[in-house]
């Protein structure tokens, strides 16, 4: 599918900021399931620099703005050709050993309930393939946390979300990482875009899901919020231990400054007809 993305983040600061630095993990990289046709990240008035690719294969750009500023707009535009590979991440250049993602973070630390959820999901599946066990964990998380926006916060931990039984894609992802790690399966947080179909089935155009490491296949995506594996409606941006580590935009503000953020994301399919032509 050919997907176009238009993603605008508009930051407003209540006090003028003297100097502003952000790191952007906002550029998708090529892999077997996606090919980037065009992509541009634009921040007016900012100096771009210190660009590098991290060990997990993600492109990181750094911007700095010399103030005083009260507003910063980060605009992303691009087009990507996607292919449904059933969530399998292939031909992606990265060097982080999968075992590194067994550690999680304080957001994904398993409490007794998460450990129990993990154990129940895998009960009787000892002889099953690693892929089936990963699916079982994703199903368990989908069943344990109902999609319900507005109840959790960015800082909500996996344990808190499970206790609440409700959350958004971030909470599903943290919980899935947690139950996977509890079963000694490396797992990580992935951010990206999702093309919402007209039937309203899929949630959140700016999206997050988990990748679990399956020996033989490599990293495989699981979207517990939508009870599926990423397909050609998904564009993958980058990964990390948790939402904060994988965040598409990271910035810090001097003490006392309050920011408000407006985000608009549009992910459109460029023509269904193109599929039919092939």
């Amino acid at each position: 599918m050919r997907l176009s993305v238009h993603h605008v983040s508009r930051y407003h600061f209540d006090t003028p900021v003297r100097r502003l630095v952000q790191t952007h993990r906002l550029t998708p990289s090529d892999c077997a399931s996606q090919r980037v046709l065009s992509w541009e990240v634009f921040s007016e008035g900012a100096v771009k620099g210190a660009v590098y690719r991290d060990g997990a294969g993600d492109l990181i750009e750094t911007i700095s703005v010399k103030g005083p500023v009260t507003e910063l707009v980060v605009e992303v535009r691009g087009e990507v050709d996607t292919t449904d590979l059933f969530g399998v991440l292939r031909d992606y250049r990265e060097t982080v050993p999968p075992g590194t993602y067994l550690r999680g973070s304080h957001t994904t630390d398993a409490d007794a309930d998460l450990r129990a959820l993990s154990a129940e999901a895998l009960e009787g599946l000892e002889e099953e393939t690693a892929l089936n066990r990963a699916h079982a964990l994703a199903r368990a998380v989908s069943g344990a946390i109902a999609y319900s926006p507005g109840l959790t916060e960015p800082a909500t931990t996996a344990a808190e979300a499970l206790a609440l039984g409700k959350g958004v894609c971030q909470d599903h992802t943290h919980a899935l990482i947690s139950v996977a790690n509890a079963a000694d399966i490396p797992a990580r947080y992935v951010t990206g875009y999702l093309h919402s179909t007209s039937d309203g089935e899929a949630h959140e155009a700016s999206h997050a899901w988990a990748e679990l490491y399956v020996p033989g296949l490599g990293w495989v995506g699981f979207d517990a919020a939508n009870e599926c594996c990423p397909d050609d409606r998904y564009i993958r941006l980058g990964s990390g231990f948790d939402a904060q580590d994988a965040a598409p935009i990271r910035g810090v503000l001097a003490g006392g400054v309050e920011e408000t953020l407006e985000v608009s994301v549009a992910v459109k399919s460029q023509t269904q007809s193109q599929h039919q032509q092939q």
């Binding site: 100096v47 991290d54 060990g55 750094t62 910035g251």
Partner: protein, 474 residues
């Protein structure tokens, strides 16, 4: 003079004989009148107070205003003794850096099955942010502090390695400075190798690892957490000696491809940052977002080759107590050499067999927390009472992976001034090895001494002091 403690190697005496290295010191102290000694001791204290060197050694915490006792009786190594130590220290520093370069790249030592993967990748000190990147000259740990103890004439053991930002070197320099000021005659009578080249070598080492993008003379700075840090004195002392700026995070900023220092003449580009700040705090955009001590975007500039950070974030994975066990293996694997310095045999409580042995022999062993430091959270079995031993038994049973155990080492003793004259007290040694374009080491290090009679704990937080450390020139 109290006799040597039986069962321990005394560095000055062999039976009734005084070893050659200590003969002039024997004459020196025995001809010193008591009142002169008292006078000199208080003079030394005043000097230390005046220079403001009152911080806790090795970041052990405690009262930062407290003076660490200085013992005037020097500790002496002969030239052949030092040559062996020096070769061993250089070898170890090289192997530790080779290990870091390997685990942050291809991980050959793991693939070869010489070290278990989980000890590396599941280690909290293993930084994902350091993977897939080669720092200038492939050096990760630029200042390696290696803690050594001596148990016999030719027997030295490495207690632990410090690859992050080992502290205490200002004591090594000040101890010498003060001894020379108080007893200039001693330095005329003995040929003692100088240590005051340390600052020059440190600066040379840091400049030698400037990134490729640096043109001309590299700009080196020391990044400190600030004056409330217990080692702030050392940060400013080293900055002074090297003639470089001492900065805090707020003095630096990232713009474009570089890190800049705010100055009255406008921004100045910085090439090498000797940071005395833990990994977690150096860049809130990469590590702890609540850190106010770091520089936002610093890791991006580092990774894209605009600045060097010494030591490299993630260098700590090489000095972890569980990884320590494998350092001799690293030496064989990367250098193809036999280890010159020995490791202390270590039981890993994470291994059931080891754990069983440890629990059965608690009263003979030293038990340490894997991530602990400063002599806290440590059990010295032979010196502990029953309830302390039981407390540790419970702790180990609850979380075995958090503990290692080692035999109680018979730390050597060195004469030390006490009320009644001199008496043997246990000592250790931390030399500071510099790794850049070349590996450099000044002849000496910091000797810590357990001032309490019979005590084997040299930590300043638990009644330890410091001594000047001499290496006799040939």
């Amino acid at each position: 003079m109290t006799n040597a403690e039986p069962g321990f190697f005394d560095e000055m005496r062999s039976g009734s004989q005084v070893r050659e290295a200590y003969q002039s010191l024997e004459r020196w102290h025995s001809s010193m009148p008591d009142d002169l000694r008292t006078l000199k001791q208080s003079e030394a204290e005043n000097l230390f107070r005046r220079v403001g060197i009152t911080f806790a050694v090795y970041g052990e915490g405690g009262d930062p205003e407290r003076l660490i006792p200085f013992d005037m009786f020097p500790r002496v190594f002969t030239s052949p003794e030092w040559r062996k130590l020096e070769r061993g220290i250089r070898q170890r520093a090289a192997a530790l850096n080779a290990f870091l370069a390997d685990v942050y790249d291809r991980g050959e030592i793991i693939k070869a099955g010489r070290i278990p993967e989980h000890l590396v990748t599941r280690n909290d000190a293993f930084e994902k942010a350091a993977i897939g990147f080669r720092p200038p000259r492939g050096v990760y740990s630029h200042i390696v502090g290696i803690d050594l103890v001596r148990t016999g004439r030719d027997q030295f053991y490495v207690l632990e390695d410090n690859c992050r930002t080992p502290s205490g070197v200002s004591y090594m320099l000040q101890n010498r400075e003060i001894m020379m000021r108080m007893f200039p005659q001693l330095f005329l009578e003995n040929r003692i190798a100088p240590v005051d080249g340390y600052a020059r070598l440190l600066k040379k080492t840091l400049a030698s690892v400037a990134p490729d993008k640096c043109e001309g003379e590299p700009k080196v700075v020391i990044l400190t957490p600030g004056q409330f840090n217990s080692a702030y004195y050392e940060h400013s002392f080293l900055a002074d000696l090297m003639g470089v700026e001492l900065v805090e995070g707020q003095d630096l900023f990232v713009e474009g491809d570089f890190v800049w220092m705010k100055t009255t003449k406008g921004p100045q580009k910085v090439d090498v940052i000797y940071r005395r700040l833990d990994d977690a705090f150096i860049d809130p955009l990469c590590f702890r977002p609540d850190s106010m001590l770091g520089v936002p975007g610093l890791m991006s500039v580092y990774r894209s080759g605009g600045v060097n950070i010494c030591s490299c974030p993630g260098a700590g994975v090489a000095d972890d107590k569980a990884v320590y066990t494998f350092v001799p293996e690293m030496i064989r694997f990367y250098l193809g050499e036999a280890p010159i310095l020995e490791n202390v045999p270590t039981w890993q409580c994470a291994k059931p067999d080891d754990c069983k042995y440890v629990l059965e022999h608690l009263s003979e062993l030293v038990v340490k927390e894997v991530h602990g430091s400063g002599g806290y959270g440590m059990l010295v079995g032979p010196k502990a009472d029953k309830s302390t031993i039981e407390l540790f038994r419970q702790k180990i049973v609850e979380d075995p992976a958090n503990y290692i155990a080692q035999p109680t080492l018979a730390l050597s003793t060195c004469p030390t001034f006490v009320e009644e004259g001199i008496a043997p007290r246990h000592v250790d040694l931390r030399p500071y090895c510099l790794v850049g374009e070349s590996i450099e080491l000044v002849p000496g290090g910091l000797t810590r001494v357990a001032l309490k009679e019979g005590s084997l704990v040299v930590n300043s937080s638990q009644g330890g002091g410091v001594k000047d450390t001499w290496v006799l020139a040939e």
